[in-house]
């Protein structure tokens, strides 16, 4: 049994107390003395030229402080892109400017044109309505393939075309892949759409800018997953404020799922306006604004082909994907369909030859960027769907076909440039078959039939790559940032610890799980350890929380800093107990000298560090505080197997999830309760993508799904109790905790299971021509499919 509060214990979350009593501090709960409020005038057309903006009437409205337009931002930088992709011909991607407020043209519905700062939010909104904008509407490009036609209207007049890049991976393998397809005994091909999604954290984005005239320091409070990254991007590239004059605080954040990684125009605006007006400026997004200004996710159109030999071994794989970038490049957008997607195309299988082609396209839609899983769900979906289709075409069991092709020896170097350190895909599949009771399916099928329902079973595997690193490699791949994490451990005189981490918790429970790690290392109670995060004035640097990296990278930095603390504390203890440093042991918060009965409590040593009366002052500085930066040597590779059972109503096409089972291998686990919760949430998002969610634009670029009235969020009734298991554990070999990351798995692994299950249900009911249905599998889509 793990020690309560130590590694492996399902310690209850300490942060829950404030959230359950209404005392959390979210950004919108911050109200600064004298603050003014912003409302943005946003484009209601998808593409147009701004002929004129008349703000006269609005300026005279009650409470209006000032109105800003693009002209006010002419000397200010645009929002930067953090990743530069080089295409198959060795050319760098086309990278358009991204102004804070529109300059000359609007490029998507929701593009900000002007901003009113007023005394109250209502006054700001009223004045926005009084601004007259003259826009000459231009033809919009919405469909990706149409956007690449020679005569297509251009989203950015100064670019050659709407093609951002044409990426090939691994380009050198292309000919060999073609050759393998020529020799294949069987080829399965599938065209599919990975539907466009909106992340929809329940807390809408908020930004509060502040400026202290006495110190010349700007502060931004913002709903961010990575305040240090925002400080760097906004300070260095947009507003020209050095880090020592800019503080970014992301307090309690109500979910992110990727959409709060990016640097947004509203953050820069509030910081800029606060400095201009010398008073705090606050913006709170409405949900409607969130739909048209938060970066969207997914939106890939793919053709995938799998080649097999006569014994059903996978021999080659090739894919062609069109990836929507939207109207501008959001912070990490170019990396999602490339390095976060192409590198995962081997999945859990020994496919020796793989070629991935991705064309990234500009359209008159909201920018698209990382959403929970980012690239990896897209890779998993197409791969696991094409394998299911191959099994069906070949008349073999889909689980057996997968097992036959599993990678079984580690480390395994894939043909798509990554090396899996550990894994056991047979074990997770065995575990899945057990928890999902696969062998009992026929009985449940008969029961469904008796009730007049169709039933189907869908199984799939997934692998993901978390904690993207090392920095020198990602730099070569085009990242304009490092991907390490930092931690500072401050031990106070009386023995308590404050850990300042660059990771950010917005639901993941770091305030509970990180202390478990530190407390375990020292052997003290977890309540003696406090986590500070979300403030650039506290942690030295931070790359933030995304890509399931917090424990694997941020946790490892904490381990490294704590190791330094322990090493120094042992030297202090050795001096006090007049022993050799090598003989000092630390266990249960007690320092002992090996082979003697001498001992010293943790608190005695920490006190000595700050009251150094008996202290090796000639060798050591007083105090006990250490910082570590951790840069991983490889990604981590969580993997697992998922099973979904559905019922389909033959009368209406409505799909219900009857059961969902997930067997994951996350390596070592610090807090199993939190890990399960992460999987549950991911599953609901994946089920949402498969059955309910879809962001739709009409051909003119009007957003048809701009509220919860028409964008279907998964609700409690849409999902079942899940069966999740993470007892298969192959620890990561290259980080000190042996952990792999668990935040995205559920969202990555679940969509193919659902779609495989629905296709299975239809097939079993005699619809033998149905090989695929595009997500979301709404009743109308399924019903239409059944009608042939």
């Amino acid at each position: 049994m793990p020690k309560d509060g130590g590694i492996g214990a399902s310690t209850k979350r300490r942060e829950d107390i404030r959230f359950l009593t209404g005392t959390g501090q979210y950004t919108d709960d911050i109200n600064l003395r004298g603050q003014a409020h912003v409302a943005f005038l946003r484009s209601d057309v998808a593409h147009g030229r701004i002929k004129g903006i008349d703000t006269k009437a609005a300026e005279g409205m009650p409470g209006v402080v000032r109105i800003f337009t693009g002209a006010d931002f002419e000397g200010v930088g645009g929002l930067p892109c953090g990743w530069q992709v080089t295409d198959r011909h060795g050319e760098v991607m086309q990278e358009p400017g991204h102004p804070v407020l529109a300059q000359g043209k609007v490029r998507h519905v929701g593009d900000p044109i002007a901003a009113v700062v007023a005394e109250t939010p209502e006054q700001a909104r009223d004045a926005v309505e009084a601004i007259a904008v003259d826009i000459e509407e231009l033809p919009a490009v919405i469909d990706m393939k149409a956007a690449l036609a020679d005569d297509a209207p251009k989203v950015h007049d100064d670019l050659k075309s709407n093609l951002c890049y044409d990426w090939g991976f691994v380009e050198e393998n292309k000919a060999a892949v073609e050759e393998a397809f020529g020799k294949a005994a069987h080829v399965t091909s599938l065209e599919l759409v990975n539907n466009r999604l909106v992340a929809n954290p329940m807390e809408p984005r908020v930004a509060v800018g502040d400026f202290a005239a006495h110190s010349g320091e700007s502060t931004l409070y913002t709903t961010s997953q990575n305040p240090h990254v925002i400080r760097l991007l906004m300070g260095a590239f947009v507003l020209g404020i050095p880090e020592h004059k800019l503080r970014v605080v992301a307090p309690d954040v109500g979910g992110g799922f990727g959409s709060k990684i990016f640097h947004y125009a509203e953050e820069a605006f509030c910081t800029f306006a606060a400095k201009q007006l010398k008073r705090p400026v606050k913006w709170t997004s409405s949900r409607a604004e969130a739909f048209m200004s938060d970066a969207h996710g997914r939106d890939h159109v793919t053709k995938i082909e799998l080649a097999l030999d006569a014994d059903n071994n996978f021999t080659a794989l090739r894919t062609e994907t069109y990836a929507n970038m939207g109207a501008y490049l959001s912070t990490f957008a170019p990396s999602v369909p490339t390095w976060l997607h192409g590198t995962l195309m081997a999945g859990n299988y020994r496919t020796p030859l793989i070629y991935v082609n991705v064309k990234a396209v500009f359209t008159n839609t909201v920018p698209v960027d990382a959403y929970r899983g980012a690239g990896r769900p897209e890779a998993t979906y197409q791969l696991e769907r094409v394998i299911d289709k191959a099994a069906r075409e070949l008349g073999v069991d889909p689980i057996a076909l997968r097992r036959q092709n599993f990678v079984t020896e580690f480390p395994y170097a894939t043909p798509v440039a990554v090396e899996y350190d550990t894994g056991d895909y047979v074990a997770t599949m065995d575990k899945l078959e057990e928890i999902a009771d696969i062998s009992g399916f026929e009985k449940r099928l008969a029961e469904s039939k008796a009730r007049g329902k169709l039933r189907g079973l869908g199984v799939n595997c997934y692998i993901e790559a978390c904690g993207i690193a090392p920095s020198n490699l990602v730099g070569q791949l085009g990242a304009r940032a490092g991907l390490y994490e930092s931690a500072t451990v401050r031990v106070n005189a009386t023995g308590g610890l404050v850990v300042m981490t660059g990771s950010h918790s917005h639901g993941q429970g770091h305030e509970t799980s990180f202390p478990q790690v530190v407390a375990d290392m020292i052997g003290i109670d977890a309540s003696m350890v406090e986590i500070e995060h979300g403030d650039t004035d506290k942690a030295p640097m931070g790359m933030g929380t995304y890509g399931s990296r917090s424990l694997a990278v941020g946790g490892s930095a904490i381990v490294r800093a704590t190791e330094k603390i322990i090493a120094k504390a042992k030297r202090i203890a050795a001096h006090i107990m007049e022993a050799s440093e090598d003989d000092i042991e630390l266990k249960n918060g007690q320092f002992t000298v090996a082979g003697t009965d001498k001992s010293l409590a943790w608190g005695d040593v920490t006190l000595a560090a700050y009251v150094p009366h008996n202290y090796p002052l000639d060798e050591l500085e007083p105090g006990l505080e250490e910082t570590a930066f951790y840069d991983p040597s490889n990604f981590t590779y969580p993997a697992g197997a998922y099973a979904c059972e559905v019922e389909v109503d033959p009368e209406t096409g409505k799909v219900t999830i009857e059961s969902f089972a997930a067997a994951d291998d996350f390596g070592n686990i610090v807090n199993p309760m939190i890990v399960s919760g992460q999987v549950h949430g991911g599953l609901a998002q994946g089920i949402g993508q498969a059955l309910l969610e879809g962001c739709v634009y009409d051909e003119n670029g009007q957003l048809l799904t701009g509220s919860y009235m028409d964008y279907a969020m998964p609700r409690a009734e849409d999902v079942p109790f899940y069966k999740v298991d993470h007892s298969c554990q192959t620890p990561c070999t290259h980080n000190p905790l042996g952990v792999k990351g668990c935040g995205e798995a559920g969202a990555i692994g679940s969509p193919p299971a659902v779609v495989n299950a629905v296709v299975d249900a239809l097939q079993r009911a005699g619809h033998t021509n149905v090989m695929h249905i595009d997500m979301p599998l709404s009743p109308s889509r399924v019903w239409k499919t059944m009608q042939g």
Binding site: F19, M202, G255
Partner: protein
């Protein structure tokens, strides 16, 4: 602008409001920021409070409509000694929250449900929560927590 007084968690809260001021904005403006705003179409339930004992989405009524009413919010739910009440405690015990943003509305909805139906089935809970969206938990642990809060044995429901 007119001045109104609403009894919130047993204490009078007064302030000036416009005719169009929503109850949720009145509460938040009075410093009771535990009640959240997650949407603008009365769909998400982050703003649920009790008005005269009934669960109400505080974004769907005007503050003036609640004049003189008894309003209960998340800030008033803990036991008199400050400890978590049964529902709040069940949410912590069963990890029924992650980012915490939907949580006040969930707790207030759960309280209203249990008042009406002291031992709801899984299905009844899921149905009742139709107006409360959570993006983090996948609902598993929320449903479980509400079952536990109503005294039902949840040990058979997949835990970790």
């Amino acid at each position: 602008m007119s001045d109104i007084t609403i009894n919130v968690n047993g204490k009078p809260v007064s302030g000036p409001v416009e005719g169009r001021t929503l109850l949720v904005d009145f509460l938040r403006g009075a410093g009771l920021t535990g009640t959240h705003v997650g949407c603008d179409t009365s769909q998400c339930g982050a703003c649920v409070v009790h008005v005269d004992g009934k669960a109400v989405k505080a974004c769907s009524i005007f503050a003036v409509e609640a004049e003189g009413a008894e309003v209960a919010t998340i800030e008033g739910q803990a036991n008199p000694d400050g400890s978590l009440n049964v529902i709040q405690q069940a949410f912590q015990d069963h990890h029924g929250l992650q980012c915490g943003f939907c949580t006040p509305g969930m707790v207030m909805s759960a309280a209203a449900l249990l008042k009406e139906n002291p031992r709801p089935s899984e299905h009844e809970i899921r149905e009742y929560l139709e107006g409360n969206i959570c993006r983090c938990t996948g609902y598993h642990n929320i449903v479980k927590a509400i079952m536990a809060a109503s005294g039902q044995d949840v040990s058979a429901i997949a835990a970790e």
